[in-house]
């Protein structure tokens, strides 16, 4: 057994732990939608989902830019769209589910959304998020239809623990591309690793015996020449 590989693991883990917390994704849904659902004015798109651990702190959503960009990195100075988008924001509101109590709000400026990409919405970590359901809603109340951002919608129930909502109504088995994140602390990481190791105790016990036996055999073989001398 390669003890050296195992020895490297604690070193790596320590390096990671010392580097601070890490935002770890909760398994969401990573497939882009084919239908681009516009978000503007009173029109919203939402998604409910489940969180398996504490410290929910971020939701990433795949958003398409307003058509005015047309693939350009910046809008021309003379373009009216640039002026109209200058102070407009995309808002992500997070609610507990199903009671719909608002727990967090995050915003992003629309003027910087010049390409289709996953957009991150940060909020303060929610310590009690473990094994709870949430619902987030994307809105852009200051936008008009011609400047709407769009959310990719895909039908086929790719994310089985939730569904997409259009204007607060379920989108019949559809899902949007999204990924929630928790802020994983070192303690949470160790708990996570520990619980995974203990999920198969029989194997871990056998493996530990093998490792100890190998270590003992190696130590004995190493000492033998000294004894002979």
């Amino acid at each position: 057994m390669k003890k050296r590989a195992v020895k490297l693991l604690p070193v790596f883990l320590m390096a990671v732990l010392l580097s601070g917390c890490v935002e770890a994704p909760v398994v969401g849904q990573g497939v882009a939608g084919k239908k681009k659902q516009p978000v503007f004015g009173r029109h919203t798109v939402g998604q409910n989902f489940e969180v398996y651990d504490r410290n929910l702190t971020r939701v990433d959503v795949f958003l398409y830019p307003p058509r005015a960009f047309r693939g350009r990195p910046v809008l021309p100075k003379e373009s009216g769209a640039r002026t109209r988008l200058a102070d407009k924001k995309v808002v992500m509101r997070l609610y507990s589910w199903p009671d719909r109590r608002e727990v967090a709000v995050a915003e992003r400026p629309v003027s910087k959304m010049n390409r289709a990409a996953m957009r991150t919405f940060y909020f303060d970590p929610i310590p009690e998020s473990k094994k709870r359901s949430y619902y987030f809603e994307i809105s852009a109340p200051g936008l008009t239809e011609d400047l709407a951002i769009r959310v990719g919608l895909r039908y086929g129930d790719l994310y089985r623990r939730g569904t997409a909502y259009i204007d607060s109504r379920p989108a019949a088995g559809g899902d949007i591309q999204f990924m929630p994140y928790i802020r994983m602390t070192p303690r949470m990481l160790l708990n996570s690793i520990g619980s995974r190791l203990l999920a198969d105790p029989a194997f871990i016990a056998v493996w530990l015996l093998l490792v100890l036996a190998t270590a003992a055999a190696t130590a004995l073989a190493w000492r033998k020449p000294v004894v002979q001398r």
Partner: protein, 396 residues
């Protein structure tokens, strides 16, 4: 062993699973490997929750989503351990071969070099690839040469070629060094290519012409052609082919014979490959069996250490798939989100340039190792007394 994996491990076992289920699968590849892994899978099928590993039961190829599900399963550690257990067996056999090949006073060092070599550990147990099987075959071929069983050695080398194709670059050096007679050389080369040719012919005759064409079109076959000089129009000079041809022509024009020459020229060819060709990080284990036989040469190990450091940096170009993702079984959510070394470097300096610099140094280190071996071979050939004939070392 049970805590790390790359998705390639699942891909080979996925094909094995399709074989066990008697379902067709996409891709040609060495079917012998798939058969081998089907045998392994069949052996430890009762020990794992077999049905839950493979994702969509109607699919005939695995997808990234299947790997993410696989890594998240409760019995992942057991599955990884069992999937890699056959590789441990082959490694034990490789070490046994190494003991047979090295001189008695050098055995401990050679085995220690092998057991503690990060490249071997990474390729076999962290990445979880089957190249150790090919390495065992290479060592076996060398051992058969040492026993003066040249034909059998070429057949075994041919099996290595069948399994991984790249050992084909060793067929000509074997043939040219083991025999001096042209006819005998052709015969040996034929033996070395026979398994691969037989496999291709079998594929063609069973109606797999498209698959054979697919094999010829594999991107991997272009890797030795990646370093080139463009001359004009369709005129390119491929550096590895050029240098390899120089070695082969040198062997044609000069008689080199014996086990130590064979090991030496195989070593030259393999380091030239790594110095001039694109390669996946786990391929680097192919150098290890030859390098293990030179560990006592002065300055060889220090150069090799530098080479390994450069190789580690070279792996940064694969981003998270060769960083945090490898540890995903321990905590998928955490290790999937850990920044890769290249992403961290990009904060300060373009990582692509750092990788390029390391790769350049790696190539230089390869050539430096070849120089160390060549220099030692010259020292070995110098007679102790001018009245005495030059005596070649029996073993490297």
């Amino acid at each position: 062993m049970p805590f790390t994996t790359h998705s390639d491990l699942l891909s080979i076992y996925y094909r094995a699973h399709l074989l066990l289920e008697r379902r067709p699968f996409k891709g040609f590849g060495p079917n012998l490997f798939s058969l081998l892994h089907a045998g392994f899978l069949w052996l430890f099928k009762p020990l794992i929750p077999y049905a839950s590993i493979w994702g969509n039961p109607r699919a005939n190829t695995y997808e990234l989503g299947d790997w993410m599900v696989f890594v998240n399963t409760s019995y992942i550690f057991r599955e990884l351990f069992l999937f890699k257990l056959p590789y441990l067996v082959f490694e034990a056999l490789a070490v046994w071969m190494l003991i047979k090949l090295s001189e008695p006073d050098r055995t401990v060092k050679a085995v220690a070099f092998w057991m503690l070599n990060p490249v071997v550990i990474f390729s076999t147990y962290i990445f979880g690839r089957f190249d150790i099987v090919v390495v065992f075959l290479l060592l076996s071929a060398l051992y058969l040469v040492k026993l003066n069983r040249d034909n059998e050695a070429m057949i075994v080398l041919g099996l290595a070629v069948l399994l991984r194709v790249y050992p084909i670059i060793l067929v000509l050096p074997f043939a040219l060094i083991l025999k001096t007679d042209s006819r005998a050389r052709w015969r040996l080369a034929g033996f070395g290519l026979l398994p691969l040719l037989a496999s291709i012919l079998a594929g063609l005759s069973s109606g797999e012409a498209r698959a054979v064409k697919g094999l010829a079109g594999m991107q991997h076959l272009e890797y030795p052609l990646t370093m080139k000089f463009y001359l004009f129009n369709q005129d390119n000079l491929y550096v590895f082919v050029f240098l390899y041809s120089l070695v082969i022509l040198y062997l044609l024009l000069n008689t080199r014979h014996g086990f130590s020459d064979l090991v030496r020229y195989c070593f030259y060819v393999v380091v030239l490959f790594f110095a001039t060709s694109f390669f996946h990080p786990h391929y680097f284990i192919w150098l290890a069996p030859f390098a293990a036989l030179y560990t006592e040469l002065p300055q060889f190990l220090p150069v090799h250490r530098l080479q390994i450091a450069a190789w580690v940096t070279y792996t940064f170009q694969w981003g998270r798939s060769l960083a945090g993702y490898l540890l995903a079984p321990l905590s998928p959510a955490f290790f999937w989100s850990v920044m890769s070394p290249s992403e961290w470097i990009d904060r300060f300096y373009p990582s692509i340039q750092v990788v390029g610099i390391a790769r350049s140094f790696f190539s230089a280190a390869c050539l430096a190792m070849a120089y160390v071996v060549w220099r030692e071979s010259k020292v070995a050939m110098v007679p102790a007394d001018v009245n005495e004939p030059a005596k070649e070392r029996v073993a490297p």
